[in-house]
Amino acid sequence: MSDKKAILSPLPGVFYRKPSPEKPDYVQEGDTVKAGDVVGLIEVMKNFYEVKAEEDGVIDQFCVENESIVDVGQEIVSLK
């Protein structure tokens, strides 16, 4: 499996890599994730939406910084 897969943001908003400021990141680059695992949060309209992996894979890299503003359809994480 060499083809890369992407996790896209379904929403516009602020992207967070951790569930709360004092908690560790959900996942790190190199971690193995399963479909349904949470990789981050998007905050918009005072709602927090969990961004989940849709398929199994290994986190290749995060394409956006923690706390940056993302758009609908923007690539957040690439999997390998």
């Binding site: 896209l8 929403l11 516009p12 908003g13 918009v44 309209m45 709602n47 758009d71």
Partner: protein
Amino acid sequence: MIKVIKPGLQTTVQDKGRIGLYEIGMPPSGAMDKYSFAAANLLVGNHPNAAVLEITYLGPELLFEKGMRISLTGANMPPKINGEPVPMWETLEVKPGDILSFDFVKSGARVYLAVEGGIDVPVIMNSRSTYTLIGIGGYNGRALAAGDVLHTADMKEKDVPVGSRIDEAYIPVFGKAHEIRVVVGLCSYRLTEESKQTFLQTEWTVTPEANRIGYRHRGERLQFVEREQPFGAGSNPSNVTDLGYPIGSIQVPDGVEPIVLLHDAVTGGGYATIATVISSDLNRMGQIKTNEKVRFAAVSLAEALQARRETEEKLMRIAASL
């Protein structure tokens, strides 16, 4: 019955709103884009105030347990029935067991889903609209959650044949940059002449703090005319003595980040309201997403009323065509 499999981000029951209680401090709520709301009800032959689902940013997944006609209007969020793409702005039919789902939103922010007869929730203060901030109206006063079951009401007035479609000319197109018309006032006298210009010349960016209560915009700092604040007005120059806030009024706390107050907002307070979005452009405002661009264009009250008449005429022509 309609079963909620996945709720989406914020899917609420809305109608025209709780009209007539503004003076006691109760905002109307109701559909943010009333044009798309009205078109959705027309497509299924409903009473104009039948309740629909307002779907924001992310579509739900819904299971229809009985067959009925439905329609989808508003933002371009490609809908699918049992995984097959179906058109928006058209009278559709679902069969028992059909599942409605959506792709990512392509343009606009809010989709309206009307079902034959309307969504049946209790009428509270003349309305079926949800006001999530205090938990009243709609489905238990909140956005839909997985497992909720919706019933349909009996507000159907007319049989609209499946496949009936709204003329392309009446389907709004939503870009990523928006011109929103405003009437300047009520308290624009508090801004410096330079800042009045800045307000109208700046390309504002909608921040993540943009919801049914209000839309916050980032751009330039605005300056207020220096004065000794009157009694009761508070110390910040963006404050005035209390006034009622029209829906669509724009306040600029401390001169930073203008906020357009919308259908779930407080009805009054002590911020200078520097301009008011015209009623027909509130529909468009409800289709703007976080990160998109807004320019405010000043129009006269006569132009605002003319725009309102044109919007009403468009809806009358849609009604006549179905």
